[in-house]
Symmetry: C2
Subunit: 177 residues, 2 copies
DNA sequence: GTCTATAATTTGATAGAC
DNA sequence: GTCTATCAAATTATAGAC
């Protein structure tokens, strides 16, 4: 299945550079050094190819993050959530760069992301509640907006680790963590 | 110049729905109830049409925000920057919704935004410095990431004013404002 | 699994009339 | 300023051979 993987790699690269809509199946075939027809034999359509990339990305993300996020105290959970952007982008930088590029416009992309992040709001709300915050749901919403901004920033800019960690530490201080 | 404005309005609407790349000049002409040729007579190319929309958007944004952001004390400046997402998205919601949708993939879009936001980093750094923050440049970078996340969130979700203001207030508390 | 060839449609843009 | 008619190229996808 080397050619199939070549197509997935080529598509990830080109979707990242130009977006899914502006990437032609011809250019994917060319980058993967295969025929255009093979793309459709393997994936059916361009959208299915994208969905397969995204599905794999979030499966990997779930595997990476689930050990981090279970069984924590409220403070630990919030701290881990603040670290989430680093955990994700470090473990799969190319995928998250693609997601950053296409998520605002692509329904497949945004739907998978919503499902992935959905449990976090409730857990954050409960965590803030336990810590005595006056408006726990609002705090959770605000922190999720921030986390969303940070993973996109890290995916887009590829900072060195030192600066990444400094940003995350500074953020934790705002929540006394 | 009614037809020219019709084209601008139609393009803004369709670029927001599908992105610039996926919006055909034919669909713009149809939405504006004009001929396709007129788009090219007025704007030369699809990219020029988009650039004109963006240029007008940032000119309006500069006009709206400049009275807010001059001659402030450090604390006031930081507070106003935290309010910036509301100021922008309230004054021109359709434009900022389009920007949210296309900025990650579109060079014209991101270039204008960078120029618009560029002065803020230095001013924020100086403000944090004056307030005695230990790592003013890092604080400025972090706050700008946050502001970026917030305007995109407000542009995308169209919250009611009450909830918008609650988010902004909660954010200000983190900086003792 | 992989290829060549090709169909059917859509695209951005232009020419030329009024 | 505005239109109709048109073009050359690019697009997604399929058929059929190996």
């Amino acid at each position: 299945m080397s050619k199939k993987q070549d197509i997935l790699d080529a598509a990830l690269k080109l979707f990242t550079e130009n977006g899914a809509r502006a990437t032609s199946t011809k250019s994917i075939a060319s980058e993967a050094e295969t025929s255009e027809a093979l793309i459709f034999k393997h994936f059916g359509s361009k959208d299915n190819l994208l969905e397969e990339i995204i599905k794999k990305g979030y499966q990997a993300a779930a595997k990476t993050t689930s050990p981090y996020l279970i069984g924590q105290t409220p403070k630990e959970y919030i701290a881990k959530m603040i670290e989430l952007p680093i955990i994700l982008t470090k473990s799969n930088p190319d995928f998250w760069r693609m997601q950053y590029k296409i998520i605002a416009l692509n329904l497949i992309s945004s739907r998978y992301h919503d499902i992935f992040m959905r449990p976090c709001f409730e857990k954050l709300t409960i965590s803030f509640e336990k810590l005595g915050y006056k408006q726990p749901a609002l705090e959770a919403e605000l922190l999720l907006i921030h986390i969303d901004g940070v993973w996109k920033y890290l995916a887009a800019h590829a900072l060195d680790s030192e600066r990444e960690n400094a940003l995350i530490s500074t953020m934790k201080e705002k929540y006394n963590l």
